[in-house]
Symmetry: C2
Subunit: 743 residues, 2 copies
């Protein structure tokens, strides 16, 4: 890795600029390259006014490429504190915090200082919330704010530097590291790192056991499959618990209930909530359901399009590598890869765009549900592109190759220009051999090569690209300066004290936004390989273990250097990804059993096909595997639910204290303690005198009713005892007599 | 049905006794037939003292058969009210009530009057809770209180009479009826009736559709199987929602968290809760887990014992009915039935006793967990005895009969004394015919005959028995009176005003306790037949629909007349039965698919066996059926979760109000409204003057830091706007020029 200093910025004199952000909370990148001057000015004035109206202070500086950068901070500490306190009280109102906030605002803020993430989140909300909810209503790139290219916070480079240094010098993140991430980048990103960390820790087991299995058990070991599935169950159930625990510890449990409305949401009618008196914008859920049903044809269409592309390329590849026997075979083998790498990204982008349109059409009210719906669709697309090739090899090519290969002659078209004669393009009628290593090779490709390529595309390529473009820009600027056109250079007006800072801000303005979803997706897809196919190549775990050590650091580097500082959103879980993990783990119980059944034992027969496949055997293996899986899952869940977690303990305690407090206020300390003790040991004791008093009372009232007479026959304990004794004396001797008789 | 009046009691002059309970809360039946007189007296004194110590008033009267009846009521209204209020506050403390109780005790009691169930529950707890928790610590039939035969509340006969009259005159219970049951018998029993009612309502569909299917589709219709499974899913998911809703409406949601400690619980150590300061008795969960694992061998043993008994009888039956051809065949056919009806109850009782011992050994801390563990074991036993015979017929007898029947010769032993020659006892080598109606007949037996028999055993037989024994008692008493041994007659000391009341109480003392578990079990087992096997005979639903109309009334009659008044315990759900229902419904998706595959189409082949069974086809059918089932379940659950329920709305509203109240107290009404509105629209507005003030302040402080300087360059909105405009003016013309150039 290059030295960190040079990574941060090529110019060493910018170093000092890393130390201060000039108290800037957000930078608004306002662009007017395509807007006529009067409109641009009017819109700018409107922007500044909107910001000032909600208590934000502004400064403006020149930006690159026909842009101005508006620097924003919350104008007064008092305003910020009020916002923070209000948000905390709102959390309590909605049940996110179990501990009630201190009634004294200042005391609350002293007890629990405002974190950077909290401040930035509230400032962002102030800028973007609709006007009727008390924000400035600035929505980047949409509607009247089309000119606002982005709203981004400035990186805390001192922190970033220290953070990345620290990460690269330790193996595991501890709770403190996670809290640091949470305080800087918000809970949503902290959850990603917490998940990645837990997953990485858990990978130790499949890595170690996988290595042993690879050495001792070989491929397609039933034992490996069982232990791998068990590991998946334990990991997912552990993470579920861990997730809740972290949410409680971070004070965000149930925060998904406080949802951010989507400004794009279109309502049909406005309803007043009978209880809270809030006005609720409503969209018919039935209409939405009807639109959601479009997902089904979408999934089918996506599956067929992507599936036929993959299956087609796969067939061509087999045809060329195993049937074709003419010239250029070595080069032609790459033909399907070329087709895939050119067509697939376009197709994927097309389908993703379609998925986005579909999600928009579903018109969700909140950001969270919108995101979840989008993730669902993306997961379907990813599932097909990531796993279908291996599925085809394992469950179509190997069992049915001898049936299918002779029909691959249709692909002669692809190689006709190169073949010298027909025979080269015709499958041999006998003696066709299945390539038994294909499956393993493919799994290795997806679990090693693809991971490395992915990492390069994700972290290294953007860095190189960015460095290159920056260089180009510098050269252009130099040239422009030499030409003397200095007036239009954005740096011309810079105050010398700020110039290095502004250079940095202009650079950050050029960066893309960080999308935690794509990182999650990568990890979930990876987990899928482990769960679905690692029985083919038990070293999968080792590869992922190494990969994820780098991945975590790479992601940190990406956030710190390659993207704008993300808005520190809150979250109380990893969201819909958990379900995807569960689904993959469950599917793994089916595929692993099938793979073991198909390929284990002596393995392949004389012609390369597994020799003793019986459909009922395969189905029975899958059936048992799945049901044992489900049974074990319930057992593991039950066992884990019995273990108390520090977070839940904390929450229980806090809730208890709040309620006790309430009762103390309403009943006095004494009563509260009694109620809390759950008993009436110290409760009101009835004394002889009370009883006698009541008796007297009833005598005074007269004993008209039969009920009163009934209870007056033995007015006190003594009478009851005396009369009872007499009854026993009368009855008991008889009893003894009888027993004697019996004897 | 006999006239209600005569059902209540044969003597018409007792009628007046039905109108009052003399304010008695509980009757303690203290028996001393086998205790020497001095001990009996000492124990009695101790009993009365213990009761008086916790504020209970007592009266004593003679009981039948060497017993005295101690009548108990809470001595003063003030004491009762304090208990009620304390319990309500405790509910709030533990999160059961979302609305905080009124701070003024009397106001709370006026707003929400004490129900009979509430009073009786608290009185029962006063009598039975351990001394250190403020109760009298009287535990019937155990430890030092062995003499206490039972503690029971007196029936409210006026209510019972009206209730049963009302039930028999209407088809469906409405919410008011359920609340009445809840107020009288407690939430636990109300949940049973609510469940039974929902189940009955839902049965309309399988009854109607089943009748149509029977007419139009015949047996083993795939369409019927699919719709039946779908119905099961909808019913269970609906009930889950309904259960929560009722719990919220009845104010008992989460009441299972407030658990009653089992007096039999043995703790290993005492730990002080760090937060609440309560002393907690602890038993190692690992030790418990180890003991819980004993359930596995228990289940296996039970399954093998019951299974082999059932399988054995089954085999004998087949042997006799289909192989044996000698004399007495008609009578010998009943041999297995005789074996089953004699051995099975004994075996069941033995296994149930064993299950109880096992559950005791598991040493649960609370009544609820103890009960749940017991229910689990009972469910396993019931599952085997109820469904195994049909499983054997469907999945062993029909497919494998031709293989198995020739081996049934081992049962020749059973018929050897009757057979005239060997040939009569030997299976024909060829031409053996499977009885194709056996499966249907068996299902009809279990779903019609067995239900009727069960009802008779449950309601009618006990009534007849009780009437008979009461008659005998009366005759004996008359004879004793004639002999002149009147001194020892329990009625001798009765005050004339009370005598008819006491006769009634003595009768109630002889009754058994009501066990809602066995009623639940009956319904769950019934649901199982519908879910697992109704595809064999689609009229199952009709039979159950009729049966359950009677069942609900029968159960009411049982509670009112055949058993002591149950202690009105609370509950927030039907408990572990829900899981049993889910399991049966899921299993139904497997069995129905298997039955349809095995028997549908043209059905049986020439020799009576289904002719085209293929193992892979069967497995594939089950595989698809199960996965479609699971998918649909998720879809139904998701769809239902989108529907709001009145109970949840109520709860949300209550929680909202409580929190708002809290904030009002802590922040003043104004702030609360702001926080509740979720916005800062009305929040602190930053005015020009504030900004200027702060600016001045910072000027006074000196502007040493670069941050202050940065923000002072454009001290107000006007400056920002002016400077921004100048930037735009400078940059924009270039932009327009460029666009022109491009044009």
């Amino acid at each position: 890795m290059a030295s960190l200093k040079s990574l941060y910025d090529p110019k060493a004199d910018l170093e000092s600029a890393l130390h201060t952000n000039f108290d800037v909370d957000y930078v608004i990148d306002y662009r007017f390259a395509t807007t006529p001057k009067p409109q641009a000015e009017a819109q700018f004035v409107k922007l500044i006014k909107a910001l000032n109206d909600v208590g934000l202070a502004t400064e403006v500086r020149n930006g690159d490429n026909c842009a101005v950068l508006v620097f924003v901070k919350v104008a007064s500490d008092r305003h910020l504190n009020a916002e923070v306190y209000r948000s905390r009280v709102q959390d309590w109102l909605y049940g996110v915090r179990s501990a009630a906030p201190e009634k004294e605002m200042q005391k609350n803020l002293n007890d629990e200082p405002v974190t950077e993430a909290e401040r930035l989140r509230l400032a962002y909300l102030l800028i973007t919330k609709p006007k009727n909810e008390g924000g400035a209503g600035i929505t980047p790139k949409s509607g009247e704010w089309k000119g606002v290219e982005s709203i981004f916070a400035l990186h805390d480079h001192a922190f970033n530097k220290r953070w990345i240094k620290e990460l690269s010098s330790k193996y595991f993140l501890n709770a403190k590291d996670l809290i640091e991430i949470r305080d800087t980048f918000g809970e949503k990103i902290a959850f990603y790192f917490a998940f990645l960390q837990s997953y990485f820790m858990f990978l130790i087991f499949p890595a170690g056991f996988g290595a042993c299995a690879w050495l001792l058990l070989g491929q397609f070991s039933p034992l490996y499959a069982i232990i791998n599935a068990l590991w998946g169950i334990v990991f997912i159930e552990y993470w579920k618990k861990q997730e809740t625990d972290l949410a409680v510890q971070w004070g965000v449990r149930g925060v998904s209930k406080i949802q951010h409305k989507r400004p794009e949401f279109k309502h049909e009618s406005v309803v007043t909530d009978p209880i809270t008196g809030e006005e609720l914008k409503v969209y018919s859920p039935i209409k939405r359901l009807a639109r959601q049903l479009l997902q089904v044809p979408f999934a089918i269409a996506a599956a067929s399009v992507l599936g036929s592309l993959i299956a087609g390329c796969f067939a061509i590849e087999i045809f060329i590598s195993e049937v074709y026997d003419g010239p250029f075979k070595a080069y032609l083998t790459f033909l399907p890869t070329v087709i895939l790498t050119t067509v697939m990204p376009t197709l994927s982008a097309l389908l993703t765009g379609f998925a986005r349109k579909l999600t928009d059409l579903e018109n969700y009210e909140t950001q969270d549900s919108h995101e979840a719906a989008m993730i669902q669709k993306i997961f379907v697309l990813n599932f097909i592109t990531s796993y279908l090739p291996i599925f085809l090899t394992a469950f179509v090519y190997v069992p049915f190759a001898t049936v299918i290969v002779p029909h691959l002659d249709v692909f002669q078209l692809a190689v006709r220009p190169f073949a010298e004669n027909e025979k080269q393009m015709t499958a041999p009628k006998v003696g066709f051999q299945i390539n038994p290593d294909r499956l393993k090779k493919q799994v290795i490709y997806f679990t090693v090569t693809a991971q490395i390529v992915n990492f390069a595309l994700e972290v290294i390529v953007p860095y190189v690209k960015r460095s290159f473009f920056r260089k180009v820009k510098e050269v252009q600027a130099d040239r422009a300066a030499k030409k003397g056109g200095g007036a239009s250079s954005p740096t011309a007006d810079d105050h010398p004290e700020e110039s290095s800072f502004l250079v940095r801000v202009r650079n950050e303005a050029e960066l893309g936004a960080y999308d935690v979803t794509s990182d999650f997706r990568e990890m979930v897809v990876q987990f899928g390989y482990l769960s679905l196919f690692s029985v083919v190549w038990p070293l999968t775990g080792v590869s992922f273990f190494i990969n994820n050590w780098i991945e975590l650091r790479g992601d940190a580097l990406k956030i710190a250097l390659e993207t704008q500082r993300p808005v520190p959103w809150r979250a109380d879980s990893i969201g819909p990804w958990l379900e995807s993990l569960g689904f993959l783990s469950w599917l793994g119980s089916l595929t692993s059993a099938a793979l073991v059944y198909l390929f284990s034992g002596d393995g392949l027969g004389p012609d390369g096909t597994p020799w003793n496949i019986k459909a009922w055997g395969l189905l029975l293996a899958m059936f048992f595997s799945e049901h044992i899986y489900l049974g074990v899952k319930i057992a593991v869940r039950t066992a884990l639910s019995k273990i108390d977690s520090p977070g839940l303990q904390k929450e229980r305690g806090e809730r208890f204290i709040v309620r006790k407090q309430f009762i103390e206020e309403s009943m006095g300390v004494d009563a509260a303690e009694k109620a809390a003790a759950g008993g009436i040991a110290a409760g009101e004791k009835i004394s002889k005198s009370t009883l006698e008093e009541e008796a007297k009372e009833s005598t005074l009232k007269g004993h008209g009713t039969p009920e009163e007479k009934f209870w007056q026959r033995q007015p006190g304990q003594a009478e009851t005892i005396a009369i009872g004794k007499s009854y026993i004396a009368k009855a008991a001797p008889n009893a003894t007599k009888e027993t004697k008789k019996e004897l």
